[in-house]
Structures are given as structure tokens and as C-alpha cells.
Symmetry: C3
Amino acid sequence: MSGEILKTISRAIVALVSECRIHFLNKGLHSRAVDPSNVAMVIVDVPKESVDSYRIEAEKTIGLDMNRVFDISKTISAKDLVEISLQDENNLRIKFGSVEYNLALIDPSAIRKEPRIPELNLPAKIVLDAGEFKKAISATEKISENVVLKSDKNSFTIEAKGDVEKLTFTMAGSELVEFNGGEAKSMFSIDYLKEFCKVANVGDLLTIYLGTNYPARFSFELVGGKVRVEYILAPRVES
Amino acid sequence: MSGEILKTISRAIVALVSECRIHFLNKGLHSRAVDPSNVAMVIVDVPKESVDSYRIEAEKTIGLDMNRVFDISKTISAKDLVEISLQDENNLRIKFGSVEYNLALIDPSAIRKEPRIPELNLPAKIVLDAGEFKKAISATEKISENVVLKSDKNSFTIEAKGDVEKLTFTMAGSELVEFNGGEAKSMFSIDYLKEFCKVANVGDLLTIYLGTNYPARFSFELVGGKVRVEYILAPRVES
Amino acid sequence: MSGEILKTISRAIVALVSECRIHFLNKGLHSRAVDPSNVAMVIVDVPKESVDSYRIEAEKTIGLDMNRVFDISKTISAKDLVEISLQDENNLRIKFGSVEYNLALIDPSAIRKEPRIPELNLPAKIVLDAGEFKKAISATEKISENVVLKSDKNSFTIEAKGDVEKLTFTMAGSELVEFNGGEAKSMFSIDYLKEFCKVANVGDLLTIYLGTNYPARFSFELVGGKVRVEYILAPRVES
């Protein structure tokens, strides 16, 4: 796979957990995990069509220290070709250029149980440039710990209130890539949203599925659509 | 106005104070303040011709937390068009692109009294690239806390003395944009000069009016001459 | 000399010591020093042909605070022309553009005695791009404190072992600039190697002379071959 894919997967997961299970499925790579506070879930999928070569004898699950994989991925260029292989029951080999890492696996049963992905009925769907969202969230963090995401028939707004100031970020339906005008409003922790956005760059698509005082889904299409990273985040209740 | 103007004004003022009065005068924006130690004064002027549109019902003075304005200005691109308006007696609105900030005003009477601008009779006038001055000041700070600015009929020099070394920065009259060869010599705190220079970039003009053991004026022409920022700095007396 | 040469010399020396002797010899500049732990030696040579102008009345040795020279060199551009001269018995003058530094000398007899350069019989010779070596060393430091350098008839390898992972960097003889296939293997401290590499950039040549559990020589050709910096490093013994 390209170095960019490994960088993206590991970045996406370390936003919430340090250790996780990776499933080598017939259809490709899959991973999901819930953060220690049970506030957010990450779901990562890399279809086998997204990588240059994919060969498994049987479906298999391994446990990995993703912090180490993320550190290793920082030494890889986005365009490097990376070969990942299971050498034996205990080691994952990550190879690129003249470099070879051998990383000890973690027994999957020693890693926290994987979450069930919830069915959520969310009225509003907003599709926008992930870079725009990232910029807005980054501006809110100086003002407050929480941000209100709101959708009505005209526009999608991001609002943060501080002691002496209020920031409102408004995008009309016509300025969004896709927008269904559904009514929804929920408040979220800025810290989590900021972590989610780290995986994304200008030009990546972000789809937000929003309800009212309800968990929301933030679904990123990354690396030119080759990697899908979805975060589900519990709302904060306004006091 | 352009984002660059708001960035420049707020940067200029936070060099000395966090809260200040802004005057919306018929001729444009004006602000001035003295730092808490009474060592330096900042005077900012933006003629109404420097902004894209300027409309006031009557001259008005407001109080602002400039640190917050400066933070907000960091999220604005230099080329963004920014609209600043008084929404009511209590709020300033700063609007650019899809973003809107509402910032609570401060009662001007709660802010430290504004200084009178002193009349100074200063024999030496030196005009140079602000970027050159910034670079020189930045080099001195590793050596000493103070710097001596000196002008004689031949040249303008910046001198810093440390325990084991001396740095001399010499510019002949012919290397300066303008120079009257006046005799003057005063010592100043490098920390203040460094703060002043943060507002300026290579290509901005800086005019220094210098006396002997006397306050000096550092007058910056910024944003292509649209904004004038002047600092007046008290000298340090050599022991 | 060019600013780049002064930057390179001072960077090379401060990797190991803060004060050192500089010899102004008929053939050019020379300096050597051992670090306070006696683990590494640096040898710097700048032939007089490498500088734009070189004039000495007699060979002379001075003592310098290289940390200060290094700080000063940071304010110089690589392409600036720098003039270094002894003004009197107590001062070195460093002049570039409109800037002049006067730096107090240190009595050479107050500086730690210079080392004798050892004769080392080292079977393996490896020549590679210093930038490649720098990148590899930088990747190892997250994993371990030590790195094993190994040469056999086929390839040169850099190996680091951590608690849960192993990094191997392998370069076949054909991928190296020059390689004699000598058998050798020694372990070294990553901290030292990292310091050595700071002096080098992509495109600089590094020649490594390696033995088995024996000191190695790391010889850098810098500034287009105008400056030679050699480090000799004692091995660590595997426990």
C-alpha cells in the first residue's frame, strides 16, 4: 500500500486508542474501537481494491500497538510503497525502501472488546470539505470547550460561545457539497472534533449525519476515497 | 477592510497593552495607549481612505480586549475582506467569509486613561527597511538586554555589548532610505524594540527619530502605507 | 569565507565541546577536540584553498567559545561572505554585511588538552549519502539508545532493537557510493551519531570506517568538499 494509507489509518485510530484489533478480511482491512471514556467510536475500512496487492490465506485478526505504528508511519513518505506482512504468530513486518520494522503483536484477547456499531436514525446530512470543517473547529477552541452543530432547511452552522464572545460559522445549503436541510441540533466536545479532523486535509470530503441531542456520525473519505474513516461521537447536553 | 489591516492593528497594540480604546473618528480609526510600566507608547492610525468602506453616524469611542481581537485576527487570511460593525452598545461584530464573531465591548471608562502624545525635539532622522532593523535587533538579544542606537554625520549604528562580545551593526548614510546625519545617541531595552518589530515585515518603511538620552520615535508605515503605527520609547540611562 | 563554512565548522565542533582551540596553520584552519566523556573526537579541517582569502603572518593558535560562534553563525546566511580576523591578542572579529562581532578569545592553555589522533586499523569502508544515514539514525532513536552497524561482503546494515520492535536498515553494496565488503560489526550510542549527523545534509558524502567492537571513523565531506569533518566514536559493548 502507499505510505499515505498507513499514515492515515494509524492517525485515525490513535485519535481514540493506543492499542486495537486489525481484521484482515476477505474484502480488506477493518478496525474499530471505542475510546476509554466511551464517548467516541472510530471505524476504519480499507477495501482490498485500495491497496496495490492483498493476499491472505484465511481471515485473521491481530492486535497492534497503534502508537508505534503511527510513529513508524511518520518516517515513511506518503508516496513510499509499504509492504505489511505477518511473519509469524508474533510479528508484523513493515517494509519500505531499505527499511524493515518488525513489530511484536499483542494478543487480541488482551485488548478491550470491540464495540457494536449502533444503528442511528439521523435526520440531517451535510457534506462539506473536511478542510473547511477543520479550520472552523480550530477557530472555536480558543473560545469554548463545546461547539453546537445545527442544521435547518437553509444552512448548516457551527457555534461556540465564550465568556465575552460568540463565534458563528454559517454555510448556506448552496455552499455545501450536499445538504438535505434536515432539522437537527447537538452540542459536542471540541477536543474530540479536533482529534477527528487531524486525519483530514483540504480536499477530503466529510459527511456529517446529525440529530438533536443525539450521537452524530462524521464520515471522512480519505486518500482519494481509498480509505473510509468514520467517527461516532456522543453529544454533550446543554446545561 | 482587508484581513491584513486588522492583523496589523491588533498586533501593534498587543505589543504594549491587552485592553484599549478605539476611536471611530470622521477621518478614520485611531488608538493609543501606554504600557503598564510607562516605558512605551503606541499610536495607531488607519485613515478612512485605507479601508474599503467606512460609515459612522457620529464619532464614537469603544473599549476592546485587543488580545481577543488579535487571536481572532490570526484565523483570518491577510487577503480576506473583513467587516467590523457595532451591533449594539455591547457588541462588536467581526465578519469574514462564512464566519462571524460577536465580541463584548469593555466600558472605555474602565480602561486606563489615554496618554497625551508628547512633543519631542529629536535631531536625528533615519529611514530604513523595517526588516533590516528587525534582523539586527533579533541578533542583539542573545548578547545583551540593551542596545545603543547612534547617529552621526556618516552613519547609523546599532550596538550591543555582552560579557565576552560586542555586536556592531553599521549602516552608512548612502545605505539608508533617508538620513539627515543628526548627532544622537540613546540606549533602549531590546525587549521593547523586539515587540515593536513584530508588526513589521521586510519592505515596510521604518522612520526612527533619535535624540541623546531621550525618548525616541519609531514610526512604521505598514500594509503598503495604509496603516501607521508609531511607538515612543523611553531611553535607558547607561550606568 | 562563505557563511556556510563558518556555520559548518561551528556546528561540527559544538556537537562535542563548547570551547576549543583553533589553529591557523599555513595549510589552513584545523581544530580537534574530545568530548567531556572521552567517547568521541572531532577533527575539522578547512584547507586555505576552500576560503576566498587567507592571510597569516605566522602560524597561530587561539581559544574560542564555539557556542557563541555557533550562535553568531545562525544569524549569517549561507551565501554571505564572512571576514574573520584577529584584531589583537584578545579579540576575534567576525564581519559580514553591515554587521561586526567582536568576540573575546580564551587563553588556549585554559582549554582541555587536545587529543592525539589514533591510528585505527578498520577493515570495512562504506561510502554513502550522509542524508540517508541521518534519516536512518533519526528513525532508530524512538526504538533504542544503541544501534548496531554491520558490514559483510553483501551489504551494510543499521540495526536497532527495542522492547517490542526491531528496525533494520539494509543497503546492498550496489546501493552504496563505495563499499569494500569488509567484515565488521560494532554497536554505538545513537545520541552521538545523531549529533554527528546534524552537520550534514542530503548530498554530502559520508565515509564510515568500521571494525568489530572497535572505534569507528565517520568522515564527512561538507560544503561541496571544502570542509572535512571527521568524528571518531568509541563502541558500546553488547551486554
